[in-house]
């Protein structure tokens, strides 16, 4: 039990809108992550990826979002009902998050150096002022920013550099778990390559586990060991990168996702989009949530939600695969 760094069981998260409508953002999600592991969490807009990360940190919008069922264990401690005070001690030290948009996740009126030392000073009360300053310089060097720029404000940095500063803040206390929510989506490809390279190096140095949230399958293939694919608040397929990228047993949604990306190696005129739209989280299908868009949908899929079928660590939530994880007949 205690060997897993993060353990999530049957997590349900809901948002309540002004019209009292209930949005089912995360629906019975199970996830475990070990120390130092590297998980890519893939899905399209509205799949519930960010909601999952915010639930772990207890950062769901107050009064609107809430965890209705399930447990979250972090580093052996049940944090499902942790108080705000407890969470403050964990955030930044045990678990930290990198947000998508570096332009909005930094405080525009504080020099970047102060924003980094804030985290260190809060969690490392044992350090003296000059030790904190030294740590700041080390961190800036680590992410490739000259320490003499610590007195500059966010607007004086480019997008890529701002994201480096956000990374420095997230890693300031060497957290055991890093949640990176689309950390490079707002960046150009050559800068994305730089930032991902940096994150890979740092991760190795401080042995942090990471959940990399992204919609880009390419980013996952190169940076993660394990992959979870989310659809409508559920993980519909999970396995190692080899399982997902090299094997041919897949959830129909995963197949659709791969089919929709223009293949750089092939000459093909038409793309193969997934028909229809993302399931409406206020009004989810009764059976399999992907059923209305699935080309292989059967009557059973519309009626009963599939359970997870696992074979040698590769799990798929689909009726096409029976208990042993083999494609079912008929």
């Amino acid at each position: 039990m205690a060997e897993h760094l993060l353990e999530i069981h049957g997590l349900h998260v809901e948002y309540v809108t002004d019209e009292e409508e209930i949005i089912h953002a995360v629906n019975g999600l199970d996830l475990t992550l070990d120390k130092g592991q590297n998980l890519g969490l893939v899905g399209e807009t509205g799949a519930g990826k960010t909601t999952l990360a915010l639930s772990i940190l207890h950062l769901l919008p107050k009064k609107v979002g809430r965890i209705t069922q399930g447990q979250i264990h972090l580093d052996g401690v049940d944090i499902t009902n942790a108080t705000e005070e407890d969470m403050r001690l964990l955030r930044g030290s045990t678990v930290s998050m990198i947000f998508q948009d570096p332009m909005t996740s930094l405080n525009p009126v504080l020099p970047v150096g102060e924003q980094i030392t804030e985290v260190i000073a809060l969690h490392r009360k044992d350090l003296t002022k000059s030790e904190v300053e030294d740590r700041l310089d080390d961190l800036l060097k680590m992410v490739g920013i000259p320490p003499e720029r610590k007195h500059d404000y966010p607007h004086q940095f480019s997008g890529g550099m701002k994201q480096r500063i956000v990374i420095a803040i997230a890693l300031a206390c060497e957290p055991k778990l890093l949640l990176a929510d689309e950390p490079t989506t707002a960046l150009d490809v050559t800068i994305q390559a730089q930032v991902l390279e940096l994150m890979r190096e740092l991760k190795e140095q401080i042995d942090t586990a990471m959940v990399l949230i992204t919609h880009d399958l390419g980013v996952v293939a190169e940076n993660c060991d394990h992959v979870a694919i989310m659809y409508a608040g559920e993980i519909i397929e999970m396995g190692t990168v080899t399982d997902i990228f090299e094997q041919d047993r897949h959830h129909p949604y995963t197949v659709g996702l791969f089919g929709a990306i223009p293949d750089m190696t092939k000459e093909e005129r038409r793309l193969h989009p997934i028909g229809g739209l993302m399931a409406d989280p206020a009004n989810l299908p009764k059976g399999c949530k992907f059923a209305p868009r699935c080309p292989q949908c059967t009557e059973r899929c519309e009626r009963e939600p599939p359970v997870i079928y696992t074979r040698s660590g590769h799990s798929i939530r689909c009726h096409l695969f029976d208990e042993r994880g083999e494609p079912a007949d008929g």
């Binding site: 399209e44 050559t190 390559a193 730089q194 390419g218 929709a260 750089m264 793309l271």
Partner: protein, 316 residues
């Protein structure tokens, strides 16, 4: 055989800033054949959107010519320009920001018809709106919906229907699928290619996504800090990229399979800086691993190194 619809000659667009002149588009020339697609790729700030806007004269060029079927768009009077706009249209990046949230779907699509007085009666206009919605794959039931009720993909379909309303021949598409999820992106790309085939449309397709641009373009132009650094057919560019920047750009794309795992990537150092009063020579030189003195000593022209393959690099 060649039916040239658009010819751009030495186009420049400089913006005055407090720090000096910003060379957003600096001496770009190309020709575009009817019914084909020119992909314009580059990273943010390379001038690709400015280029699109200057070609449509949404921004006035600093100098240079844009010849649409031999007629210089820059010299047209107000009335002539209004007529010209029916023939050249634009599709914008952000379907959330480029349509009026207070107008219904039918009002948005009918707007260009009204402005250009293209329909004689209300009934004719309604019919045309329905026809356009059908063309772009928008179900009739959305006719009185408002943009906020629709998802990004459908909103982009509205944007496309609006630009098609005036029966244009040429459309500048500025990152039309960047704001969309991959499964929806594929739907819109298919739609745009179908429309091109059916109506013989000519596109300038501006994007930062190399896999999208490869898919949709006949020819590709790579831009860096306002300059065209390489231009050739889509096939040739991906098979045989010559400019070090193009190579780096292609190299930086994460590929969705395991082939690149564990292999160190040659990461380009440095970042794009503002092209304010740029120094002579290659603008990529400060980041280029092969840069020599020759690169910064003088301007480097675009040269044809093999048939229809143009590169601006001293090494090639």
């Amino acid at each position: 055989m060649a039916d040239t619809i658009l010819e751009v000659r030495n186009l420049k667009k400089y913006f005055p800033t407090s720090a000096g002149l910003l060379h957003a588009v600096d001496d770009v020339s190309f020709t575009l054949e009817r019914g084909t697609t020119l992909g314009v790729v580059g990273e943010s700030g390379c001038g690709k959107s400015t280029l699109g806007r200057v070609v449509l004269r949404l921004l006035e060029a600093t100098s240079g010519q844009v010849l649409f079927e031999g007629q210089d768009v820059m010299q047209l009077g107000k009335q002539q320009m209004r007529m010209m706009r029916r023939r050249m249209q634009m599709i914008f990046q952000d379907p959330y920001a480029s349509i009026n949230p207070r107008m219904s779907v039918s009002e948005i699509i009918a707007d260009p018809l009204k402005v250009n007085r293209l329909c004689k009666s209300r009934a004719e206009m309604d019919e045309r709106v329905h026809e356009l919605m059908d063309t772009v794959g928008l179900s009739e039931r959305f006719v009185s919906s408002y943009p906020h009720e629709l998802d990004g993909g459908r909103r982009q379909r509205i944007g496309i229907a609006r630009s098609l309303a005036v029966n244009p021949e040429f459309i500048v598409c500025d990152e039309p699928v960047s704001a969309l999820d991959v499964s929806i992106q594929a739907q819109i790309l298919n739609l745009m290619m179908d429309l091109q085939e059916q109506m013989g449309l000519t596109y300038i397709f501006i994007t930062h996504d190399m896999s999208v641009v490869k898919h949709i373009s006949n020819e590709i132009m790579v831009m860096y800090m306002g300059k065209c650094v390489e231009k050739t057919s889509s096939k040739e560019l991906f098979a045989n990229p010559l400019h070090p920047y193009t190579v780096a750009l292609l190299d930086a794309i994460p590929v969705p399979n395991c082939s690149r795992r564990g292999k160190p990537r040659r990461v380009l150092s440095g970042e794009v800086t503002n092209p304010i009063e740029p120094k002579p020579g290659c603008r990529f030189a400060p980041r280029c691993p092969y840069a020599t003195e020759a690169c910064t000593s003088g301007d480097i022209p675009l040269r044809e190194v093999s048939p229809s393959h143009y590169v601006a690099c001293v090494l090639k």
